[in-house]
C-alpha cells in the first residue's frame, strides 16, 4: 500500500534527525504518540505534536514513561499505528510495558534517542549504550526488532521501515537513534506519497465466534488483528495465554506461547535483517558497526585502504535480530572483526559469540559523550590485519 498523502510532507528539507523521525512516523501512518519529554528526544514529540492536528492524529503528554508505553500498547489495539519517544532514563521505565507489548504481540514503535548513561548520565551528549537493554530490557523470553539510523535521511526512511516491520511481525520495534544523529542537521528528501511503501495492518475477516487473536506456530503468517470497538469479545493479557488470548497457567501453555514469541523472529532472521556490506569479498578485516559509529568508521576504513589494508564493512541497519549467520560465514574467511561502538562493549559480544573463535573480535570502546576518533578505529583495523 502507498502512504496516505495527508501525512507526507513531500519536499527537500534541511532538518535534524529528530524532526526527520517525526516526519517518517507521520508518513508511515502513525496517528498516536504518547510520551514524556526528555532530552535529546523531545524534538520528535514536538514536531509530531505540531503536525498531528492537521493529519487527524493524537499526541498525549503522559504523566511518565510507564504510562506512555501502556497507552501506546492500548492505542495500537484500537487499530491506530502508535509510537512513543524517549531517551535512556525513560527507556528504562518503559521496559515493563514493552514486555506487555511483546507478550500481546502488539505492533508499535519505540524511539530511543540514546544519550550517555547510566542513570541521568549525559542528557545532551551521545551514546550507544542501550543496545543490550533493547534486546534484554524486559523480563522473560522474547525477541525484538531494533534499527539504528546513521543520518537524518535514514531517520525518515527507517522510521517507516520500523512501522512496517512492527505490523508484519506483530512486535514492538525499537528505533535506536543516538543524540548525534538526532541533533544533526542535514538534507532530508521526503518523496512523493506514491513512492512510499506502507504496510497496512492485517485485519481479521470472518465470523466473530471463531476469531483467534493469536496463532502459535512460530511462522511468518501471524494471526490477523481486530480493532477494539468493532464488537469482538476477546481477551488479551500479559499472562501466559492460549490462541484465544485467555490465561492458562501451566508449563505446556508457556511452552507454546513463549516458543512462538521467540521463533517468529528467530526463524525469520533472514527476512527481517537489513545490513549493508562493502568490499567484503577479499577482506582480511571487517568493521561491524551501526548508527553514527558506522559513519565515523567509514573515515577510518578510507584511511586503512589508503595504507593497503584489505578492510570491508558490515553495517547493521537492523541490530536486532542479530545476523548471526552472516557473521558465522564471514568468520571462516576473515582474520578479525573490528567493532566500534559508543559503549564499553555490547554488540561486540554478539560478534564474538557468532564468530565462535574462528576470527578475532576487537572492540573499539567509547564511554559516550562524543563519537570515536577515527584514528582509534584505524589502530584497531591495523591490529586486526596484523
Amino acid at each position: 500500500m502507498k502512504a496516505d498523502p495527508i501525512g507526507v510532507a513531500t519536499g527537500s528539507y534541511y532538518i535534524d534527525g529528530d524532526h526527520a523521525c517525526a516526519e517518517g512516523a507521520i508518513a508511515a501512518g502513525c496517528r498516536f504518540l504518547a510520551g514524556y519529554p526528555i532530552t535529546p528526544s523531545t524534538e520528535v514529540a514536538e514536531r509530531v505534536a505540531e503536525r498531528f492536528p492537521k493529519v487527524g492524529g493524537m499526541f498525549i503528554q503522559m504523566e511518565d514513561e510507564l504510562a506512555s508505553m501502556a497507552a501506546v500498547v492500548g492505542a495500537s489495539w484500537t487499530g491506530t499505528k502508535s509510537m512513543t519517544v524517549t531517551s535512556g532514563p525513560g527507556f528504562s521505565l518503559m521496559m515493563e510495558n514493552l514486555g506487555l507489548g511483546a507478550m500481546m504481540e502488539t505492533p508499535c514503535v519505540v524511539v530511543n534517542v540514546q544519550r550517555g548513561g547510566p542513570s541521568t548520565g549525559l542528557p545532551t551528549l551521545t551514546g550507544q549504550a542501550d543496545m543490550m537493554q533493547a534486546r534484554w530490557g524486559s523480563h522473560g523470553d522474547y525477541e525484538i526488532i531494533a534499527l539504528s539510523p546513521n543520518s537524518p535521511q535514514e531517520c525518515f526512511d527507517l522510521t517507516i521501515t520500523a512501522f512496517n516491520l512492527s505490523e508484519q511481525w506483530r512486535v514492538p520495534v525499537l528505533f535506536m537513534m543516538d543524540e548525534c544523529v538526532g541533533h544533526m542537521t542535514e538534507k532530508v528528501v521526503i518523496p512523493e506519497p506514491d513512492e512510499i511503501e506502507v504496510l497496512p495492518r492485517k485485519y481479521y475477516q470472518g465470523d466473530k465466534e471463531s476469531y483467534r487473536p493469536f496463532k502459535f506456530n512460530g511462522a511468518a503468517d501471524l494471526a490477523p488483528m481486530i480493532k477494539a470497538g468493532d464488537g469482538y469479545f476477546i481477551h488479551i493479557t500479559g499472562l501466559t495465554h492460549d490462541e484465544r488470548g485467555y490465561p492458562i497457567i501451566n508449563a505446556e501453555a508457556q511452552g507454546k506461547n513463549v516458543s512462538h514469541l521467540v521463533d517468529k523472529i528467530r526463524n525469520n532472521v533472514e527476512k527481517i535483517s537489513i545490513f549493508e556490506e562493502d568490499c567484503i569479498d577479499d577482506a582480511d578485516v571487517v568493521v561491524v558497526s551501526y548508527g553514527i559509529s558506522s559513519r565515523v568508521a567509514l573515515k577510518a576504513v578510507e584511511d586503512a585502504r589508503a595504507k593497503g589494508i584489505k578492510v570491508g564493512t558490515l553495517r547493521l541497519v537492523t541490530v536486532w535480530p542479530f545476523p548471526e549467520g552472516r557473521i558465522q560465514q564471514l568468520a571462516g574467511k576473515v582474520k578479525s572483526f573490528v567493532v566500534p561502538e559508543i559503549n564499553m562493549g555490547q554488540i561486540v559480544l554478539e560478534v564474538e559469540r557468532a564468530a565462535k573463535g574462528k576470527a578475532k573480535a576487537i572492540l573499539v570502546p567509547h564511554a559516550g559523550g562524543w563519537v570515536h576518533d577515527p584514528d582509534d578505529i584505524l589502530a584497531a583495523i591495523e591490529e586486526g590485519a596484523a
Binding site: M184, E186, K299, V371
Partner: protein, 192 residues
Amino acid sequence: MDIRFSGFGGQGIIKSGILVGKAASLFDNKYGTMTQSFGPEARGGACSAQIVVDDSPVLYPYIVAPEILVTMSQEAYEKFTDELIPGGILLTDTDLVKSEQFRKDVKVYSIPSTRIAEELGNRIFANVVMIGFFTAVTKVVSPEAMKKAIPGAVPSRFIDINIEAFDRGYNYGLEQLKEAKGSRKKKAAVAA
C-alpha cells in the same frame, strides 16, 4: 571545510548555521552537516553552530580543524579563536569583538553587522548581515543559494528585509576584499 559560527544565545547563531548548511545542501549541490552545542553554556553565554561543508558525503559529523571562524561576541572570540587553523579566516563583528592584536597567522575581516542591522530597523538581522559578509568573503556557498535559503527560514513578512540585510553584508564583504587586495599590493610595492 570546517566552519564555526559563534556568538551569544539570542543572536541567531544556530540560525546562521542552518542557513549556510541549507544553502550548501539544498541549492549548491554540496553536503552540509550542522551540529550545535547544547547545554547550559548555550544560554546567554558563548553559543556556537558547527558546519562541515563538502563536495562528498560528510562522514565525521563534527568539525575538527575549523578553517573559518565567525565570532559575534567577545566571549565567543576568546573561547574559539585558538582552534582556527593557521591561514584560516576569522570574521568578526567590529563593535562586539575587540582585540589589541588579532592572530597574525589568520586573515581577519570585520563588519559592524549589528550596527548595520540597527540601521535596517532591528539588531535581530545582524546574523543575516554577517551571513552576507561571510558569503562574499569565504565563497563557501554562492550568494544565489544563500538567498534561496532565506525564505522558509524566516517569517514570510520578513523575507524582503532579510534579503536586504544579506545584500548589505555581501556588498560590505566585496568592498573589504577589494581593499584587502589593494593593501596587499601596496605592501608588496613598499617591500619592493
